[in-house]
Each structure stands twice: as C-alpha cells, then as structure tokens.
C-alpha cells in the first residue's frame, strides 16, 4: 500500500488508508520504544528541523525524541515572538534554514495556514505540529492510536470532545480523523466556545454534558485556556467546572468499557478532576508515549519509507 502524502498539514481530506498506514506503523514503532535500546537507523542522514513559532514543550520534545529514535539529525529553532517582531519575515527565516540543507520541517505556528503557506515556497517536506486554531494532526493521530489500542478499532465508537472547541486545533483534527475512520463524534462545550456552523463538520453538538457523555466510549477533555475568562467568553472558571468539568460522577454516564483522554497540559480541578485524570480508565500518559511512536511513524512515512513507488 503506497502512502499518499508528501506533507502532513492536517487530517481534513486524508484517506482512511493513509491513516491506517500511519497507525499501523506507529504500533510497530511503539515496540521499539519498549526495547532497552530505543533507536533504529531508519532516518540516518536525514535532517529534521523543529521550527516552533509558538511556545511548546511537549510537542517539541516528542518530535525531538521521535527524530532521534529514528537516527535523524535534529535542529531546534524556537522563537518566542512572531516573525514580524523579529524583523525578518517568516519566508526569509525558512529560506535561510533551508539553505543549510535540511530535509523536513516540523512546524508550529500561531497563524492558521502557515504550514500550507510554507509548502508554497519551500522544497522541504512539512509536518504540521499545530497551526493556530486550524489543525494539529499528530495529536489527533496519537489520540486515535490510543483509542485503537484500547478498543481494537475506531469504527463505530462514540467519541465525545469536551471543552473550548472554538480555539482548538486538537478538536478539529480529531473530528476529521475520527469521522474518516468511521467513529461518531460529539462535541460539548459552552455556546460561547463553539464555532459557528460547526455541525456542518458532521458532529453532534451538545451543551449539556450529561447528554453528551451518555453511552459514549471515549471522552477527550480539552485544556481550558485560563485567559478565556478574561476575554469575556466565560463568566468564571468555577461555573465552567460546574457545567463541563469531568468528575467521577459524570464519568458513570459513559459506557462501562470506556477511556478518558486529555491532550495536556491539564488544569486539574478545572476541566478534569484529579481522580479522573489519575483513574484506571485514564490513558493520558499512554497518549504521551504514543505521541512519540506516532511522530516516528509520520516522519518515517512522509520521508518515503512506506511508499513502494519511490520516485
């Protein structure tokens, strides 16, 4: 099965076959991570740049480990401010880095569409590590891998995503990916944090957490950015927790066989109660491990390792 993607910019429009290929490869790499010597020579000689225009710790580290486990050479380029405040355009920065002969760019950027813009003028292969509120494909892939590991499938499952859907690239990528894989997706959050016409993405929309959780197989709890209260989108964190916080009591509404997920970093006691985060049914730390495996799979497949039609 040939892998169809030159870049991974998002999960919208990515085929079921390509997602399966990534998840299967990730399962294999997951075994590598459990070995005493956690390194394979797959990407020896390949140079990967982590180009991070927005603060991130875990995604950057996860990609860094993934690249190193594959024996690629890795360069970290992190800038706190925007390209504008640095006085150099994004395009110039990328061209300068590319002039040093790199092969792949893993990029995070606060502006939606920046990775797509990058592919318009760059010769590198691009992996989106989160762009604005648009997409965060590797997070959704690792979420899907974690679900598949527990249930053995994605098809036919009911997944509920709870929280700030408006600003969440994780939610958007999960919706596209899960829908493609045959899962049914519900979203639940305060009406001020739901984007307009979101139902057209093919999701069930709830504002009542009890109805949303009822009979679901998976609850994926999004981080609530604390500044949402300051910007007037929420009256208080207290009320958010009352209305949408995932507690062990609410958890009982889920299917008997269920898992709890969170992309991190968590605000314990706000969107998720501590005992829920640490419960037996929580796969939150598995998600983190799977993140490395999924990113290894993506780096490997994008580089062309999975294609039988190498040009």
């Amino acid at each position: 099965m040939a892998f169809g993607l030159k870049h991974l910019l998002g999960l919208e429009g990515v085929s079921r076959e390509d997602i399966d290929t990534i998840l299967n490869a990730a399962d294999s790499f997951r075994e590598v991570l459990d070995r005493p010597i956690k390194k394979v020579p797959t990407l020896r000689g390949v140079t990967v740049v982590n180009l991070f225009y927005e603060a991130s710790t875990r995604t950057r580290i996860s990609f860094e480990l993934a690249a190193k486990r594959l024996s690629a050479d890795l360069l970290n380029f992190t800038t706190s401010g925007s390209s504008v405040s640095k006085g150099e355009t994004f395009k110039d920065t990328v061209r300068n880095i590319e002039a040093m002969k790199v092969d792949m760019i893993v990029m995070r950027h606060a502006c939606s569409g920046a990775p797509k813009f990058l592919t318009e003028f760059s010769s590198s292969q691009v992996i989106n590590a989160g762009d604005g509120s648009h997409e965060h494909p590797t997070q959704a892939l690792l979420d899907m891998l974690s679900i598949r590991q527990h249930f053995g499938k994605l098809d036919g499952l009911r997944v509920v995503i709870v929280g700030d859907i408006l600003h969440s690239r994780v939610a958007r990528s999960n919706i596209w990916g899960l829908k493609t894989m045959g899962a049914s997706v519900a979203i639940c959050g305060p009406t001020t944090l739901l984007p307009v016409e979101v139902e057209k993405m093919g999701v069930d929309v709830y504002c009542d957490i009890s109805r949303a959780l009822d009979g679901a197989d998976v609850v994926n709890v999004l981080r609530l950015q604390l500044e949402r209260q300051q910007s007037g989108l929420l009256p208080s964190l207290r009320e958010y927790t009352n209305l949408f916080g995932i507690t062990s009591e609410r958890k009982r509404l889920l299917n008997r066989n269920h898992i709890v997920m969170h992309p991190g970093p968590m605000n314990r006691g706000v969107e998720i109660a501590s005992d829920v985060a640490d419960g037996d049914d929580s796969v939150i730390l598995d998600q983190v491990t799977n993140g490395v495996a999924v990113r290894m799979a993506v780096l490997y497949l994008i580089k062309g390792g999975g294609s039988k039609e190498d040009e």
Binding site: T89, S112, G113, G132, S133
Partner: protein, 437 residues
Amino acid sequence: MSKSHLKVIAGGRVIDPMSGVDCRADVYIEDSKIAKIETGSLFSKKDMKSYESGECFWAEGFIVTPGLIDLHVHLREPGRESVETVASGALAAAAGGFTAVCCMPNTTPPIDNQETVRFVLDRAADASVKVYPIGAITKGRSGQQLAEIGDLVAAGAVAISDDGSPVESAAVMRRALAYAKMFDIPVVSHAEDMSLSAGTHMNEGYVSTTLGIKGNPPISEEICIARDILLADYTASRLHVAHVSTKGAVELIRYAKRNGVNVTAEATPHHFTLTDDLIAERFDTNLKMNPPLRTKKDVESVIAGLQDGTLDCIACDHAPHSTEDKDVEFDLAPNGIIGLETSLGLAITHLVKPGLLSWSDLVERMSTNPARIMGLDGGRLKKGSPADITVIDPEAVWKVNVDKFRSKSRNSPYNGKRLTGRAIMTVVNGRVVYQAV
C-alpha cells in the same frame, strides 16, 4: 497615444442612460467638451479620410459610454508612494476605462485638512484621469472630533469618510451627518462594529470554523449599516454605504430606500465574484480584504442588489499593498486588493455576459450613478458636458496579468483569470489617456 485632439468617435453603439440614448451614434468633441451626439446623418468609414490621423476613432463593434467613475479608491499618496501614487493610480484607472476616481483619505497624513486636499489636487493636476479627494470625517480619522469639513469642501473634497475604519460613536456619526448636510455632500460609511470584528481575518462562517481563523461576522457590518441608516433618517442627511458585502446589508438598504431614507450604496467586484471558501485552497492573502469575502448567498444578494438598484454603483476599493506586505502568513497580511484594471472586465464577465445586468444598467452603475452620488460634472454624454468617454470592446477576451498593470502594486486575486470585455480607449476632456494596442 495620439498627439492630435480627438474630434469624433464614430460608428459605435452609444449608451448614455442619463439621456436615454442606446443606439448607433457618433460622438463629436470640441474644446474638450461634447459638441454633439449625432444619431441622424451617420458617419461612414469613408468620411474618416477628411480627418487627420488620431482625430477620428472608428468604434464599430464597440460600446461608447460616458467616462466610467470609481468613487472608492486608495491612491496611497501622501505616505506610501512605494505602493501607489496619484499618478500611477490614475494610469491604472485610465487603463481600466475610468475617467475619474474619488480617493479615500486614509493616507499619511490623512486628508483631514485643506493642505492635504490641495496637495492631492496638485498631484492630480497632471494625472491621466480626474481625481476627486474624499476628506476625513474626523481629525486624524480617529473617530473623535469632526474634521474642518467646511474647509475640506472649500478646498475640493467631494465627500467625507473615515474609510478603513468605522466611526465607532453613534454620536459622532450623527454630528457628521448633520454637519455634512450644510455642504450637500454624502457621508461615506465604512460600516463595521469593531466590538464584533476587531482582530478578525475573514468572514465568520463554516469556512472560518474549519480553518480556525477568527471570523468577522456579517452582523458586524449589518449592525453598523442599520445604525447609520437610522441616523441618516433622523438627521435627514445623505448617507453612502461603502463596499456592501452581506445579504442582510443589502436587505437593510433596500428597506431604507423603500422608506425614503436618503441612502446610496456601492458593491465591489470581489464581493460579487468571490467567496470565502477560496481561502482554504492555499491561504492566499490576496483573498484578504475588509469587508471580507462572504458566502454564495451573500454574492447572490449583492448581485440582486445591483440588479434592482438597491446598490447604486460598482466601486472597486482599489487598495494597493506591496508584495512584501502581502507575502506573509494570512493572519499577518494587510487587508485589501487592487481593482482598477479588472473592475470593468469582471463586471462585464460576471454581470453583463450572463444576462444579469443590461449594458445600460452597467453604465448607470459605473458612470451615471457615481457621478450623481458625488455631485461630479460627468456621467453623461450631452452637448456641453466634459468629453470624458470610455470605449469598450464587449467581446475582447483577455487574461489578467498583474505584471502588465499600470498600478505600482500587484495584489490581485484575479491574476491569470480570463475575462471578457475591456476598455480599449479612455478619453478625458477630449484627450486620449489610454488606448489598448
């Protein structure tokens, strides 16, 4: 471009909605004025021999109209001469078939005082087309204190606007409308409720939801238009609404006109040809402007508004930006596209050719009405009026090529697009200022 003066444009189909002419006729020019429109004893091609070369233009197969007028352009001078000047913008206008433009005051410094009006008029003195400055409503375009509007009008401003920004305070807008009435000029409203649209980069809708880009809701424009219509009614003043882009806005203006409010309005070519879903293709910053590209139903409403006259005119909101400024991440790019050299072609291709607008209606929307709204001496082909004339080849098929634009800027989303219909000659005061080769 010929040195000798044009004396007759013969053999063309002359359309002048103002005098109800739409037939084969010959237009005679004398002393930079229209001498007569001859519909009786017609010129034949043989008669050309009695004229010197350049004195007679044979326009058979072409459409001859009063000079087109765009009442909403940004010429960037003073302040950003690297992207456009009065001279380069006027050249672009001439190439697009326009004989006059009204330029917005959001320059640096803004046109909020007599000195700057005079400066622009001075630059315009030897420009290819007529340039009429629009003065600012408020000092520094800051929305606080009224500019010296009497002074601005005395110096030559034809209207006032804080275009680029709305007048946020209803009280200030009320005073502007009331005050402008003394000078019989329209107040041009850039309608936007900033509390709803600050920090947005595209239309709010399904596309902004999937792209995760902060959206500008249609109600931002509609709330402000509703407010300004009520204020115009209350003060019994003249309101002109710039760049109407939503279905709701068209409906509000239609309602206001039915109820006798003194309101006029314009639509841009991009708001009747493009939709927000195009942004998803590659985040092209030449699809970023304010108001933003809306949806299919909005485009249909804007076209319906142009058809039934709710929207009086087509104005392109020509907004030059440098390639450097536009070649950035979508969120960081400035709003605006250039339009003078594509406006007529887009209107013919998308409105006239599909039968949505008659030729006569098109001329009314692009010449008669802009002249009437701004109180300009133009927009008609009548004995004694200035010989401002546009000759249009209605069948010319051409490909937009930004590298050939007269404008100093290149920020057009239509580059490479095939259009039908264009100006082949533009005449200002009897002088040929543009002729297609």
